[in-house]
């Protein structure tokens, strides 16, 4: 196994990076706040990619009634919507400045609602480009569609379809809405996938059900067990989704938290998925390790088990962020499923969380809602984080040379960052500098890219040395032939009768 325990050497290396990184950088490499995993799965502490710009409590935001256990967070443009679940209201804020968030209004009830006109534990909110607001009004068993002034438009209620189990309540907890007004919703106790409604409120089926798998050991156990034992066994049910996020392309990122610890560890359960319209998982998993957040977890200090992702958000550059509710960490992954960095932790300091509930992004900034602290934490990228974005976005836009230069700057700040090496290598590969690219890939064990570079390098080498190669081959063939010929002639002379007679 490549997995190793974290080592003290990593700290020493991180300290070395700090010494190299110079004075203009405010990143704290020694704090252990931000880290990555290297090829071997060893923790490598890294400069901070994100810094908490501010933590905004109810008082900071200028609320008369403090937030109580808010669960939903949605960012639309520069507006921030928070589902104040405990107070049954939706709050709207506006990003005023780099480091200030101002209160705009509170939506306490629904005008023109035929069913009471009040929210009951709203857990998620979603705002669309065509000016509608969707609210998962959980304990009213409905998803509400409102206009931006809080006027009732319509509601999506429990499907009457036979495929939906009629014995359970419809408890929509998280929602996402596509550009056509179709609603995808995570409902509690529903394990068939995401509940999908057409824009006219008609239930149109489940999306992204997790396939039921069982292996032959389960089969043998079931065969050996008595009937009573079999009934006591856990039935093979697919898992429920925890949260979802619709990205800019209309694909849905969905997370699962109800998963077996060993299944998460060995990668047989995918805790994050990216679903297309057909409900198939199209998430790219090219990283060395599965997308499970922390690779190692102990059991101590009240924290145990693997990372459980309570929310996810994806940026336009296909970098996505997973929010771990167990240890209050944020994990960033790139479009290839390689971990960029992880930061955060449990605690009361700025940038640490007690019960993180939701994450969303505004440009490159991140907002995290803590439902125990009743506060929003605003993160902005540091210079280091910005350089990583630059490098990735420049590569995506086809500016390979610039991307290589940005990765070089990233490497100047963090020598232990595998992705910087591979990034430089990929930029060199695109510039057809194969031999240099090979060096970078070799250092960080990127076999696919190395093979690509090496193939081209080998071709070039053969083309350059074709004369020598031919000469060698010809010599190898001709020289033994000639020698054999000479030997034969000599032998025949020696054997010849004229000479033998004497």
């Amino acid at each position: 196994m490549k997995k190793r325990l974290m080592r003290m050497t990593a700290c020493v290396m991180a300290a070395g990076v700090l010494a190299v990184s110079g004075t203009s950088i405010t990143a704290r490499a020694d704090s252990g706040y931000t880290y990555t995993y290297d090829y071997w799965g060893d923790i490598q502490y890294s400069p901070d990619a994100y810094e908490p710009t501010g933590v905004y409590t109810s008082a900071d935001l200028g609320l008369e009634v403090n937030m109580r256990a808010p669960e939903g967070l949605f960012v639309y443009g520069e507006y921030i919507y928070v589902c104040d679940t405990g107070n049954n209201r939706i709050l709207e804020f506006k990003r005023m400045d780099v480091d200030s968030i101002g209160f705009v209004r509170s939506i306490d009830g629904i005008t023109g609602d035929p069913n009471g006109g009040a929210f009951n534990s709203p857990t998620d909110v979603c705002v669309t480009a065509d000016g509608f607001m969707y609210v998962a009004d959980m304990n009213n068993n409905r998803v509400l569609k409102l206009d931006m002034d809080g006027n009732y438009i319509m509601e999506f209620v429990k499907p009457t379809d036979a495929t939906f189990d009629q014995e359970i309540d419809f408890l929509p907890s998280k929602i996402a809405v596509d550009t056509a007004g179709r609603v995808y919703c995570v409902a509690k106790n529903v394990n068939k996938g995401l509940v999908k409604f057409e824009n006219d409120g008609v239930f149109s089926g489940f999306v992204g059900a997790t396939p039921v798998t069982f292996d032959w050991t389960d089969y043998i156990w079931k065969r050996l067990a008595t009937k009573a034992q079999r009934e006591n066994m856990a039935s093979f049910t697919p898992t429920e989704y925890e949260n979802l996020y619709m990205d800019y392309e209309g694909f849905i990122y969905a997370t699962i938290t109800q998963a077996n610890e060993t299944d998460i560890d060995n990668g047989s359960t995918d805790v994050v998925k990216r679903l297309n319209l057909m409900g198939s998982d199209i998430l790219v998993r090219n990283g060395e390790y599965s997308i499970i957040g922390d690779l190692y977890w102990g059991d101590g200090g009240g924290y145990n088990g693997p990372s459980l992702f309570t929310d996810v958000t994806a940026m336009e550059n296909d970098i996505y962020y997973l929010l771990d509710k167990v240890r209050g960490r944020v994990f960033a992954y790139d479009d290839q499923g390689r971990m960029l960095y992880a930061f955060g932790g449990p605690g009361n300091m700025n940038g640490y969380f007690r019960r993180p509930a939701a994450i969303d992004h505004m440009g490159h900034d991140l907002l995290v809602l803590d439902s125990l602290d009743n506060a929003i934490t605003l993160f902005t990228p540091t210079q280091y984080g910005q350089l990583i974005f630059d490098a990735i976005e420049q590569f995506q836009d086809g500016f390979y040379e610039e991307s290589g230069a940005s990765w070089q700057k990233v490497m100047d700040l963090n020598n232990n960052y595998d992705l910087a090496y591979i990034g430089i290598g990929r930029a060199l590969l695109r510039q057809e500098k194969y031999e240099e690219a090979m060096e970078y890939f070799k250092l960080k064990y990127d076999d696919d890219n190395y093979s690509k570079a090496f193939k081209e390098y080998r071709k070039e080498w053969v083309e350059d040395h074709i004369g020598i190669i031919f000469t060698v081959i010809v010599l190898l063939l001709v020289v033994p032939l000639v020698i054999g010929r000479i030997k034969r002639v000599k032998w025949e002379i020696a054997k010849a009768e004229i000479f033998m007679k004497q």
Partner: protein, 218 residues
């Protein structure tokens, strides 16, 4: 003069016995019979092959292309790498000898060692070129490497099995049976060694703590 001639003769004999290993590669039945019965092999050649095998094993760690072998150097222990061959070879020879002498095996301990070492020749013979090959192929052509690498082990295994049959003058069925028994014998040896070492270490620990206690009281 005579001494140097004798030395030369010895060296020639050594060369001949080493060259005989290549004959055994392609003619195992004939070769391994002659190895002991015609005294064509030598312990010196066997040692040479063993050393080559160990070298191949160590050198592939360092020089194999990273597409095929990635070494986590902080956890590499050269002694363990060497031991994984030498120790297994030692208990294989001991176990095999211990069993076969009881059941009409004609081979002596030194002959078992010699034949096994001769049988290991395909490993260095293929692995050394493979180290070079691994540096000039891409991931798409990885199959060549893995097939050849597997083949080197398979060939060595076949040679060793045949060698055992020939030096003990066993039929193949009896030979295979005794190879399985040897595997069990090896397990027993490992178990006894473990038992022995843990007993010794506990005994030593007892006396150390006794002395410590005494020093503490005085």
């Amino acid at each position: 003069m005579i001494a140097s001639l004798k030395k030369n003769q010895k060296f020639a004999e050594y060369k001949r016995s080493l060259r005989f290993a290549f004959y055994c590669l392609t003619h195992p039945l004939d070769g391994f019979w002659d190895l002991t019965h015609e005294k064509r092999g030598s312990i010196a050649a066997a040692n040479t092959i063993l050393i080559l095998t160990l070298l191949a094993r160590l050198m592939r760690l360092q020089f194999t292309g990273f597409l095929f072998l990635r070494v986590y150097w902080p956890e590499v222990n050269i002694l363990l790498q060497v031991g994984s061959v030498v120790f297994v070879l030692a208990i294989w020879c001991l176990g095999n000898w211990g069993l076969t002498t009881l059941f009409d095996g004609k081979g002596r301990l030194s002959q078992i060692y010699m034949a096994t070492c001769y049988g290991m020749l395909p490993y260095p013979l293929i692995q050394f070129p493979l180290i070079i090959l691994s540096n000039v192929v891409t991931a798409d052509e990885a199959e060549f490497y893995s097939v050849l690498s597997g083949f080197s082990l398979l060939w060595a295994a076949v040679l060793i099995v045949v060698a055992m049959a020939q030096i003990h003058e066993y039929k193949m069925s009896k030979n295979l049976l005794f190879i399985v028994f040897t595997a069990f014998a090896m397990l027993v040896i490992v178990f006894i060694l473990l038992l022995f070492f843990s007993m010794i270490s506990q005994g030593v620990a007892y006396f150390i703590s006794l002395v410590r206690e005494m020093l503490f009281r005085i």
